[in-house]
Amino acid sequence: MSDQHQNLAIIGHVDHGKSTLVGRLLFETGSVPEHVIEQHREEAEEKGKGGFEFAYVMDNLAEERERGVTIDIAHQEFSTDEYEFTIVDCPGHRDFVKNMITGASQADNAVLVVAADDGVAPQTQEHVFLARTLGIGELIVGVNKMDLVDYGETKYKEVKSEVTDLLNQVQFNTDDAEFIPISAFEGDNIAERSDNTEWYDGEILIEALNNLPEPEPPTDAPLRLPIQDVYTISGIGTVPVGRIETGIMNIGDNVSFQPSDVGGEVKTIEMHHEEVPKAEPGDNVGFNVRGIGKDDIRRGDVCGPAESPPSVAETFQAQIVVMQHPSVITAGYTPVFHAHTAQVACTIESLDKKMDPSSGEVAEENPDFIQTGDAAVVTVRPQKPLSIEPSSEIPELGSFAVRDMGQTIAAGKVLSVENRE
């Protein structure tokens, strides 16, 4: 067992077997007490439910957790030889996408579950794009329910090629994806190599999990700390509060707040009510900067080093996927963009390219419109100053959700930023 930690997202279309796979993994790694499994197995038999269903066990465990005192009920844990995994089963509904983009980073890598008998389905596409937007490093693709297609290699290859097309469409590097034919239900190629898929000689799921790269906290990137709130604390003065996304903040650092465009020297940093000399990615801090008043900075500002200040976009080019829009999106559309702690109305100034879903190549230059399901490259002009970064440089500050009419319309990542003068 190892104490190296991995946050793992489980993604995929409804009913493709995510819960069953989580249940299977918990079971195979000895993370569900044997007696719990036994009890559910008996219950299932009594109720005359033919087979034993992991999905059923998982539902029951969820109810137990909900009744219990555990606070962190959304995360389950299991360990392999290499890592201690915390799993998050991503919500299916599109409206949670905003939360996953603006919230704390929850996943280093992901397992995509695709049912062999169904192939790529709408939520498969959304989740894959979300994974890319959230900066997921590696994707393990479990082609599940192989038992329902007689463990046929042809079917497996068909699904693999469909998923590969999808990855290309959103420009997810397919070298970072590992495909495995599995049956979460029967246990094929999960913890043990299956005799049913003799044509397959790649890694089984547990091996692929063990071989995931170690997550590296983004300490080498420049400091980026989106400001959540600004307080006046008696005896201290102005105290901005927020979570460090990248880099390190030290006492004595000369920092700059953008787009408010003010700066000064960090006098004190507190975390968990204790004064600390420095703070790192993931830390929630309050701090105090010499010469900064309460009205000089605001929520949505980003704090960074004075010598490498946060970018402020005059315009930026981004790759987006339209998740739901009642009609079509054309140039001039001005919804609200949610990026880190900022919410700014932005105009989609031009539609630059539309991608072909099957090849990932540019299907159309300067399309007249884009609609639900389309992946496109667009140029965006914020209506108020917005600090945002190219996701190739600082992925943590390079993604956004687009909302309008109370819905999440699209999600995207920033390709390049045209800085404001």
Binding site: I73, D95, N99
Partner: protein, 88 residues
């Protein structure tokens, strides 16, 4: 459709806000169908303490928007942010 647990960070307007009362008011502001499944407290800095209720909403309820809007109206709340979401 299953249920989703969202951990929501609620920052009080000042270190002087009574957190027990604030917690009660958050509870009262919940829209129908949502429930709080435990509240953590996180010492932030300079006397500021964040409340971190875990709110359970149905996966098909259209996200945490209604809960966030309710919380934002509550007296004594400075800001709301959703820290994490996951199916339970």
């Amino acid at each position: 459709m299953g249920k989703v647990a969202a951990k929501i960070k609620v920052m009080p307007q000042s270190p002087e806000i009574d957190l027990d009362d604030l917690q009660d008011r958050l509870e009262d502001s919940l829209p129908e169908g949502a429930k709080i499944n435990g509240v953590e407290r996180d010492d932030v800095a300079f006397g500021l303490v964040a409340l971190l209720p875990t709110v359970i909403v149905p996966d098909d309820a259209g996200g945490t928007e209604a809960v966030e809007e309710g919380f934002a109206e509550v007296e004594g709340v400075e800001s709301i942010s959703v820290e994490s979401v996951g199916r339970i």
